[in-house]
Symmetry: C2
Subunit: 199 residues, 2 copies
Amino acid sequence: MAARRTTPGAEDRPLSFIEQTRRTQLIEVTIRLVAEHGYAAASLARIAQAAGITKGAVLYHFASKDAVVAAAHARVLDALVADVGAAVEAAPADQAPAAYVRRMVGHLAERPDHARLIVEAMLHHGRPAPEARWKPLAALLQNAREARGLDPGPDPRTLALITGGAIDAIVGERLRDAAYDAGAAAESLIEMLEAAAFG
Amino acid sequence: MAARRTTPGAEDRPLSFIEQTRRTQLIEVTIRLVAEHGYAAASLARIAQAAGITKGAVLYHFASKDAVVAAAHARVLDALVADVGAAVEAAPADQAPAAYVRRMVGHLAERPDHARLIVEAMLHHGRPAPEARWKPLAALLQNAREARGLDPGPDPRTLALITGGAIDAIVGERLRDAAYDAGAAAESLIEMLEAAAFG
DNA sequence: GTATTCTCTGACCGTACGGTCAAAAATCTG
DNA sequence: CAGATTTTTGACCGTACGGTCAGAGAATAC
């Protein structure tokens, strides 16, 4: 009977080797498609073709086309938070915001495909819940301020928001001009941020 | 014979009253549709339905569906550059960057529909040529620096880029939380920018 | 070697899309 | 009023989409 896996994590049985392989392949192919030709190019037929199989086979491994792109999205996001999270935790509290900005820009500049997919996903999946993306950084700023024993200062939400947008812009520019020095830009941003936060 | 107008500006004859009216209506309807339900909702059928006419009628006034959304896009952009442009020209050179940021945020915060359409358009039309959006602001920063008689300082491109991204983020937040004080955020951003530029 | 389970194909379905066109309706002109 | 012109309809075309399904082929178990 065998059950196209409706939910990937819901262990009835561990996934077979082939299943693992196909899933990974389809996710990678989808990331590439979205990165190179935009979200609209991630159609069932194109994903299948790019993977060298038929639509039916894709839907055998994933419950729907949306599930495929959701999986791709998840993989990219997981990599981001893992990388940035590690960098932040490795830094002393008063350096955490700087570490956050640095790694965020670094991670995305090193992975153009991921960056493009995230940008694409923002608006499409992002419609209902664009999420409070500023919250983690705002918390880091709060902590850093306390670690330095400073007065409240300007609204952390606004500071985090501004910084987040600036990161996007830097990464975006790097995407369309590979010669742009995103690292240097990140350092400029960090300077501005620290001046404003711990001025 | 009468000629569905392929190009709007190419005067063979000035547009009739009805033509004017319909064009305006279709553009407004399209802005609303994109703003409320995303770029994908701006299909020929939906635009026609929202305007109370048929697809054929829409294509009588515009050469294609893309022409309709392009026109909507153009209208929104024109309003933006006119408004911001006026504000910038009214300001002394050393205040121009601040005026730019202030009016940009103000304009978009006052027109959520326009803001949403611009955001949507960024990625879809934006695919081939996302344009050097930072250039105007970078020029203003250069001028302001000269007006104050200062040393070169940090890269204007990066400064403008960062500021542009920050503006997007502020406007975006305002979009999803109408209670967010975008004006105050703009002032914070201006402070940061001026500190970095004329430190 | 047979039976069972997993993987995949290819034909098919319904829907929505952008766009075309002849002819009807509305409007303008004399 | 009639005649020409502008505007609109509604049927239609081809394409691509996401998704379903019976059954063919492979792999695995016994």
